[in-house]
């Protein structure tokens, strides 16, 4: 007996309407076919529910009509056994086609490669300060790609951020100096002003050069250095 015949006979089997030979064949099949056995159990459960508790609620016009509906429903669900849809494996809640799987694997490989390379590069060249003093011209193609997709800062962005941090620190220390400088003697005030002017000359010089040539790495580096010098001068004199 095959599954199709068995399922057609299940309803009658459960109602004890089959002759002994057919019922025996169904039993033999159910013993070896787990799929039909599951269907049989489901039908039995429905039958039990209907007869024991929900008979009144369901209120079928007749038992025959009810079984007819159940049978039709089961058949409509089980009808295409030939299609042999892949049964989902136990605990598997997703399914992918081969191209999807290949794409996923490729995507994971690319992302992990990128992360590995970025990690190695950061390990090899960990200093953010170095990047602030580099120009876009010295970026590798890989870095340009990463910068394009926003994974890393461009030297320009890095420099702007660094300058902004330095300006903030300078503003902070300048406030402190302004609050104290009236207490200094004239010699100290004059020395401070002279040296601040010297630093500001250099800041102006490098800013001007960088406006002309934003890729001048040496001026980027020197501007960074003189901004640090300015911050140090303000900090040192804020203590007086």
């Amino acid at each position: 007996m095959n599954c199709e015949v068995c399922k057609e006979l299940l309803s009658a089997f459960l109602d004890n309407e089959l002759d002994e030979s057919q019922a025996g064949l169904v039993r033999e099949h159910l013993a070896v076919c787990s799929e039909c056995a599951v269907v049989c159990e489901d039908l039995s459960a429905i039958l039990f529910t209907c007869t024991a508790e929900a008979a009144d609620d369901l209120n079928p016009s007749s038992a025959k009509a009810m079984w007819c509906r159940i049978s039709n429903t089961i058949e409509s669900e089980i009808k295409p056994p030939q299609a042999e849809l892949p049964q989902p494996a136990k605990g598997r809640f997703w399914s992918l086609s081969l191209p999807q799987l290949a794409s996923a694997v490729l995507g994971i490989a690319i992302i992990s490669s990128l992360l590995t390379v970025v990690g190695i590069r950061n390990y090899m060249q960990p200093s953010g300060d170095d990047f602030t003093t580099r120009s876009a011209a010295t970026m590798s193609t890989f870095e340009k790609v990463l910068a394009k997709v926003g994974l890393i800062e461009t030297p320009q962005q890095s420099r702007e951020r660094r300058l902004q941090e330095q300006r903030s620190a300078i503003a902070y220390w300048n406030d402190r100096v302004q609050a104290r400088r009236m207490q200094w003697d004239r010699v100290t005030r004059d020395a401070f002003d002279r040296n601040l002017k010297v630093i500001d000359e250099s800041v102006e010089q490098y800013t001007h050069i960088l406006q002309q040539d934003p890729d001048d790495e040496l001026s980027v580096e020197m501007l960074d250095a003189v901004m640090s010098d300015k911050m140090n001068l303000l900090r040192d004199f804020a203590d007086l």
């Binding site: 207490q183 200094w184 003697d185 010699v187 100290t188 020395a191 401070f192 002279r194 040296n195 010297v198 630093i199 000359e201 250099s202 010089q205 490098y206 001048d216 790495e217 040496l218 001026s219 020197m222 250095a225 003189v226 010098d229 140090n232 001068l233 040192d236 004199f237 203590d239 007086l240």
Partner: protein, 252 residues
């Protein structure tokens, strides 16, 4: 010799002028105070000094003591040296914080030649001589000259904004040497057989004179604003930056 009335008047005038000159000269001298203290020094002794203004002179000597003497101009600064586990700490910025006016303090400090020296001032000159230790650091926050002579240290740092820097000493293998100024001249007098890698940068003047070291492995970078090179095995690292002045290497 005869002394008439005119001679007596002259003598009186001379005597009066002498008295006036005496008090005029004695006036400033009496405004100065002196400070002197001696500390025993161990093998790992370190001098850490931060001055506000004035000249600091540190000399290495062949004794196991640190002797600090200072002249204090009016209004005299407070000096409270501390001996912290072998480090002699003198911090005039901290000791005089909040005081509106503090006079110059000129230090002369003698340290064991093997002492580490870390000195700093806001304004004034710094001189260090005859020190052969692990560290010599001199920093001027604003203006003043730095003179380091007869130095044999593995780590040397000299930094000012306005003023000259002069270094006369050895370059030790594996050592680290850093000289930085904003405006002034930097002169380095080192032995011809030194082994070091260096980067010298003078962006404004492009004045980098290699002197007798010109024959080494040199690279002129960024339109001559920077020179990088290597001498001998390149075992030490030397970095020189002068934003608005020149750099000169001199053979010792």
């Amino acid at each position: 010799m005869c002394f008439g009335p005119a001679g007596a008047a002259k003598t009186t005038i001379l005597l009066l002028m002498s008295v006036v000159f005496f008090f005029a000269l004695a006036g400033p001298a009496s405004a100065q105070k002196r400070f002197s203290k001696t500390y025993p020094a161990g093998q790992n002794v370190r001098l850490q000094l931060m001055n506000r203004s004035g000249t600091v002179t540190v000399e290495g000597w062949n004794r196991s003591d640190i002797n600090i003497t200072a002249t204090l101009e009016a209004p005299a600064a407070n000096i409270v040296p501390q001996n912290l586990s072998g480090t002699i700490v003198v911090n005039l910025v901290k000791d005089n914080q909040g005081r509106p006016e503090v006079g110059n303090v000129n230090f002369t400090i003698r340290v064991p030649y093997y002492a580490q020296v870390d000195i700093e001032t806001r304004i004034g000159n710094l001189n260090v001589s005859s020190v052969r230790s692990g560290l010599v650091r001199a920093k001027i926050s604003s203006e003043g000259d730095i003179t380091l002579t007869n130095i044999g240290a593995a780590a040397v740092s000299a930094e000012n904004l306005t003023g000259d820097i002069f270094f006369d000493g050895e370059i030790q293998d594996g050592g680290n040497y850093r000289f930085s100024s904003m405006k002034g001249s930097i002169n380095l007098r080192i032995p011809a057989n030194s082994n070091f890698r260096f980067v010298a940068t003078a962006p404004s003047t492009r004045s980098i004179s290699m002197g007798d070291f010109a024959g080494g492995d040199l690279n002129y970078l960024s339109d001559g604003r920077r020179v990088a090179g290597r001498f001998g095995s390149g075992a030490a690292t030397l970095s020189v930056t002068n934003q608005q002045g020149g750099i000169r290497f001199i053979r010792r």
